[in-house]
């Protein structure tokens, strides 16, 4: 009996100390070591890949942003509006469409393919898009532009989705269509080794270049 108790206590002590030691190694030493190494080797990426123009930080290369003006390239719809908000004098925060800001988040509305709410949203967005882009036909709109990404933070659209917006951007910004296409081309990335992934256009980087070209920032 006494041996059993002693044996149990010994195992308990071993379990607790193994748990604590591993917690410190894996949960503390390891992340601190990685922070140190990446801070030395890749400081820009480790701090969030922030894009700066004339000393002002305007976003992150890898995080999409919502744009509503006609002169900018639009991103895909997002359940959380890319966490872009405005603040009124009372300190209340709103998304750019006027609805209440939900706080920092990521994700999608998680509509099943058969959910009527999905078809309603796409129908509404399609009508809005056609109204603002009168030269575009519905069947020429690539599906990525009117469907929400999984993260709600997708920084990219497909090159076709950028192309259908060129006439609107040119008209609203006063830049030529060739100039707009050139800027889009500068920020288009091909597939990795020509095989992996998809062709992408980085919306934020295009818009920062457009803004500089228009002299906004």
């Amino acid at each position: 009996m006494r041996d059993t108790v002693r044996d149990f206590l010994r195992s308990a002590r071993q379990s607790v100390s193994v748990a604590l030691v591993l917690m410190l190694i894996c949960g503390f030493a390891y992340p601190c070591l990685l922070t140190g190494l990446s801070g030395v080797l890749f400081p820009w990426q480790a701090n969030g890949s922030l894009l700066t123009v004339n000393g002002q930080t305007l976003g992150s290369e890898h995080v999409g942003q919502e744009f509503v003006s006609d002169c900018y390239l639009w991103s895909r719809p997002s359940a959380y509006h890319y966490n872009v908000y405005t603040e009124d004098e009372n300190g209340s925060r709103f998304y750019l469409d006027g609805s209440e800001f939900a706080g920092l988040a990521s994700g999608s509305e998680n509509y099943a393919p058969t959910n009527p709410a999905l078809t309603e949203r796409v129908e509404q967005d399609l009508a809005d898009f056609l109204e603002k882009n009168p030269t575009v036909k519905a069947e020429n709109i690539p599906t990525d532009l009117l469907t929400a990404s999984g993260s709600g933070l997708d920084p990219h659209i497909s090159p076709a989705a950028a192309e259908v917006q060129v006439p609107r951007i040119a008209a609203a910004s006063g830049l030529s269509e060739e100039k707009v296409r050139e800027i889009i081309g500068n920020n288009t990335e091909g597939k990795l080794l020509g095989i992996f992934g998809e062709e992408t256009v980085n919306v934020l980087r295009v818009n920062l270049e457009l803004a500089q070209e228009m002299g906004v920032c």
């Binding site: 748990a19 503390f28 992340p31 992150s60 959910n115 990525d144």
Partner: protein, 583 residues
């Protein structure tokens, strides 16, 4: 299509050296890391008062595993409840409430990583590190340790000892998980995954608005999340976010790193079983052919047939998922929106349908639970693939556990074949008798029992129904997916489900706990029972379990068993939804 094939081929290349390295660690053989690592390990043993030489029988091993995990659960629970009072909390996150803490801590200890919170608002950086990252290491290592003990039992060097749990746990962490995590962590940072301790970043946009951007020690979590087949994201939307998974290269790194160690487990199994056969004086008298094929040398013959069976199941699932997603959504094409890119709702442009369906099939098969697209928005058949693979729970599976499940099916398969030819079934040179078959049957029945009975419970009580957010057949699939994911210790979800409620937190917590430890103990019991038996000599009537023929039998046994248990509920969920969508 080509990129999927190439991704899988490129996965097989590192599998061989890594599998070999992991096998040498499991078998206690010399590796190049020994001069340094032996000192580290011995320092840890000394600090903890552990004698690594002291071997345990299966009961003690299982008891120590469960006991140590319980201690870790307690420590983690305290940190979650107290996180608002502790340091490293630049975003001022409050403490987690009791039912959510209960769910979270069980979820991470059992390698499930089901998340009923969102990382942005639910956890301080200290909790992300001391609880989440810590649990990601130890839960993966615990699963792997159990698997090594199980294989030692099957390989049967001694009649009752299966090894020392503490030393297995420590060796796996210091020699495999930590060095690999640092390496992949650095690669991820290079590609743009943040790694810092600063609070969220607020920037002014060119349109005069503001944007808030999450940051923190993301890369450290990201690397072990995949290596340990954990799958819980730093942020709510997991690896679909460009913060956790910014480029196609990070996507490939994450894919490969979650596939690497479960595959290596099969290599370990094959090699350790093979060792026993080739070493003299260990019972078996099978003459070895002088020349062996390449695959037999890498995997061991028994490992090869298991790997082939898992591979066949995986490829079938992947093909169905990719095909279904490429078809797009007919309801959207009715609106005039072209579906030539496939179904893009819930998917990222940089991954497209190809990399998204590959990631989906991999995360479900290797029970990681990380997602690079939202599974709730998958087409009905595309979403059925991850659901089915979690129900099977044998297609590679998480670290070690999937292999143990597959061995249960292998024993079932030799038993069924044995009945057909009227002979006592044998597996790995041991007779499979009544006691083992009872344990195997019990072990196999627990998984569907947990999934189906809790799904039935959830759709009969109001608290369960309150979580459903999509109408029609898809609502049932949401519930089914949640419990399948819990029982399989996968952790992905149909994220629309409003699951942070008392009912969902407690029931899924219970399912995760039972789904992890009951089968594990039973599997160790099977090994403990088999290892006591004498080796029998192979005769002409022995069913060979080391060929492609056995792999095919195994695939059929797995599918037949799944069809018998899960077909009715799949017909009510995803299949019915598919039929209405395309009607």
């Amino acid at each position: 299509m080509l990129q999927i094939v190439l991704t899988l081929i490129l996965y097989l290349l590192p599998l061989i050296p890594v599998g070999n390295y992991v096998y040498r660690i499991a078998a206690g053989k010399h590796t190049f890391a020994d001069p340094v690592m032996d000192r580290v390990d011995h320092a840890i043993y000394k600090l903890c008062g552990v004698n690594p030489e002291r071997s345990m029988d299966w009961k003690r091993y299982a008891g120590t595993l469960v006991g140590t995990n319980l201690v870790m659960i307690l420590l983690g629970y305290l940190i979650l409840r107290l996180q608002s009072l502790l340091f490293l909390n630049p975003n001022g996150i409050g403490s987690m409430d009791p039912s959510l803490s209960f769910n979270t801590i069980i979820s991470f200890m059992t390698n499930t990583n089901l998340q009923h919170y969102a990382g942005e608002t639910g956890l301080s950086y200290l909790s992300q590190m001391l609880v989440i990252i810590f649990m990601m290491f130890v839960s993966a290592a615990s699963g792997y340790a159990a698997c090594i003990a199980f294989i030692r039992g099957l390989a049967g060097r001694t009649s009752d000892q299966v090894g020392n749990f503490y030393s297995d746990l420590v060796r796996i962490i210091t020699r495999v998980l930590l060095p690999f995590s640092i390496l992949t962590g650095l690669l991820l940072v290079w590609q743009g995954v943040p790694q810092n301790f600063s609070g969220n970043i607020v920037v002014d946009t060119v349109e005069g608005a503001r944007q808030i951007i999450a940051t923190g020690p993301v890369a450290a979590l990201e690397s072990i999340k995949h290596l340990g087949t954990n799958g819980g994201g730093f942020l709510g939307a997991n690896s679909s976010t460009p913060i956790e998974n910014p480029t196609i290269l990070t996507n490939l790194i994450e894919l490969w790193s979650m596939m690497l160690l479960p595959g290596a487990c099969v290599v370990t199994f094959g090699r350790m079983v093979h060792d026993r056969r080739t070493e003299p004086g260990t019972g078996s008298t099978v003459p070895q052919p002088v020349r062996q094929s390449l695959t037999a040398r890498f995997f061991g013959k028994e490992g090869r047939s298991i790997f082939a069976a898992m591979g066949i199941l995986f490829l079938i699932g992947l093909a169905v998922c990719f095909w279904a997603e490429s078809q797009g959504n007919p309801l959207l094409s009715d609106l005039g929106l072209s579906q030539s890119m496939g179904s893009m709702e819930g998917k990222e442009v940089r991954f497209g349908t190809a990399q998204s369906s590959l990631f989906t099939a991999v995360t479900a098969s290797f029970t990681t639970g990380t997602v690079n697209n939202m599974h709730d928005t998958l087409t009905p058949l595309g979403g059925m693939v991850p659901l089915l693979h979690m129900m099977l729970n044998v297609v590679f599976g998480g670290k070690g556990v999937g292999l143990m499940n597959m061995i249960m099916y292998a024993i079932l398969a030799v038993f069924i074949c044995g009945l057909m030819i009227g002979r006592t079934p044998e597996y790995l040179g041991k007779k499979v008798e009544g006691r083992e078959m009872k344990l195997v049957a019990l072990c196999i029945i627990i998984h569907p029992l947990l999934i189906l009975s809790f799904t039935a419970l959830a759709v009969t009580v109001p608290a369960g129904l309150a979580g459903i957010t999509n109408p029609g057949y898809h609502g049932l699939t949401q519930v089914l997916y949640e419990y399948a994911s819990s029982a399989a210790n996968n952790g992905s979800g149909f994220e629309g489900l409003a699951d942070n409620s008392f009912f969902w937190n407690i029931t899924t917590g219970a399912v995760m706990f039972l789904g992890r430890y009951l089968p594990m103990v039973l599997q160790l019991a099977v090994a403990g029972s088999l290892m006591k038996k004498r080796f029998v000599n192979e005769t002409t009537g022995t069913l060979h379990t080391d060929g492609i023929g056995f792999a095919v039998i195994l695939v059929f046994v797995v599918y037949i068993f799944a069809a018998l248990t899960f077909f009715p509920v799949l017909a009510l969920g995803p299949i019915a939804e598919q039929l209405t969508l395309w009607a």
